[in-house]
Amino acid sequence: MRYTAPSTTAEAVNLLASNPDGARILAGGTDLLVQLRAGIIAPELLIDIKHINGLRDIVAEDGGLRIGAAVSGAELGEHEAARALWPGVVEAAELIGSTQVQGRCTIVGNLCNASPAADSVPAMVAAGAIARVIGPNGSRDCAVGEIPVAPGRNSLAPGEFITSILLPARVEHASDAYLRFIPRTEMDIAVCSAGVSLKLDKSGICVAARVALGAVAPTVLLVEEAADALIGTTLDEAALADLANACAQASAPIDDKRGTVEFRTEVVGVLAKRAALIAKARALGETS
């Protein structure tokens, strides 16, 4: 195995394209190094993108924020503007691993690793985040939800990698929240999770919503029926019950060492309800 740390995206793309089967991008490495050690992957070349200009930056763009692919969870969590704009995405990113892992992990890595249980992904999908992909044919933008295609597999073409994520601008009276269930208080992979982003009108009625669920299907689910359950309501009990139902209906989880079908199907709705209420409170400016 070789290690290289290019200083430009063009160099990285070249390296990646010229080693179509044997190269991997290294950003935070918190998944990559575990997989290397376990022998799950054995790349020929590691391309460390942390030295590429701009990839460790968070910059304002069209009222939103562009998060570089090498920005760590801890750096994102310390970014006040990001917290204010998309508190749900930031709280989701901050749930990736321990304090130590936070010092290294990235939301782009979390996305590309394509685990159905990735914490930041449902929140980003709910937020409508856009990934910027660079490759041999230049750069393209892609909805975050289109990146993972199956557990451990993403849609990036050979030679492509993600350089940043755009968290879009946000209108007034809107906010988001993310909740996951784990058996302990920390250090676990999500058994199931829910990200909710919503917008209220002046009277407090939900006028737009996006509900994304994690770990209840091979990839993160964006559940329209769940959003519909919220739209036009004040998130009253009936609406929340409809939301939970829609989540359960959409879920197609598996039984595994982390949870059962029955448990995930039920609890994902509970999380969606609670996340919706937090998002609502934030949208109303009641909490941060």
């Binding site: 195995m1 070789r2 290690y3 740390a5 290294l26 490495g29 918190t30 190094l33 575990v34 290397l36 050690r37 376990a38 590691l46 460390d48 942390k50 760590s72 801890a74 691993g97 321990s98 304090t99 130590q100 892992v101 010092g103 290294r104 208080t185 920390e186 250090m187």
Partner: protein, 159 residues
């Protein structure tokens, strides 16, 4: 395949080493530089026994490649005391009997120091959450938390 030459700063001293691409920072600290205070409890970032700081940021040395630390500043447990003078955290860990077997202690001390730098006045639950990635199987954490809280108070008093 020739080795990678890395120049870095460890505990404020210049350090150089040769490594292979797959070597982790923990491998090099322990097996090459013989700084064996960082322990390998899991090799997958789940136990925190190899905690060090990398450019001031708390990380697991097992989840960092050695080649990545070119030009970086690393601090380990070996650099925590100032010569014979123990860091306040080290003193408080002894005073509060915050260790039994001691294998997790270096990582917990490094992690606690990073916490108090960022947050000099943490609540008990903030300490518990910050240290959630540092497993201790002996103490039930109680005395560790007491020691960190006491050290924080004393360090604030010194400022």
């Amino acid at each position: 395949m020739s080795k990678i030459h890395v120049t870095t700063t460890i505990n404020n001293d210049p350090a150089e080493f040769l490594c292979e691409a797959e070597d982790t920072l923990l491998d090099v600290l322990r097996d090459t530089l013989r700084l064996s205070g960082a322990k390998e409890g899991c090799g997958s970032g789940d136990c925190g026994a190899c905690s060090v700081t990398l450019d001031g940021r708390l990380v697991c040395a097992c989840l960092v490649l050695a080649a990545e630390v070119e030009g970086a500043k690393i601090d380990t447990i070996e650099g925590m005391s100032d010569g014979e003078n123990l860091h306040i955290l080290q003193k408080k860990f002894l005073e509060h009997a915050a260790l039994q077997c001691g294998i997790c202690t270096p990582g917990i001390l490094v992690a606690s120091k990073a916490l108090l730098k960022k947050n000099p006045d943490p609540t008990e639950s903030e300490v518990r959450l910050w240290l959630a990635g540092n497993l201790c199987r002996c103490t039930g954490y109680d005395k560790i938390i007491n020691a960190v809280m006491d050290a924080a108070a004393e360090m604030r008093g010194l400022e």
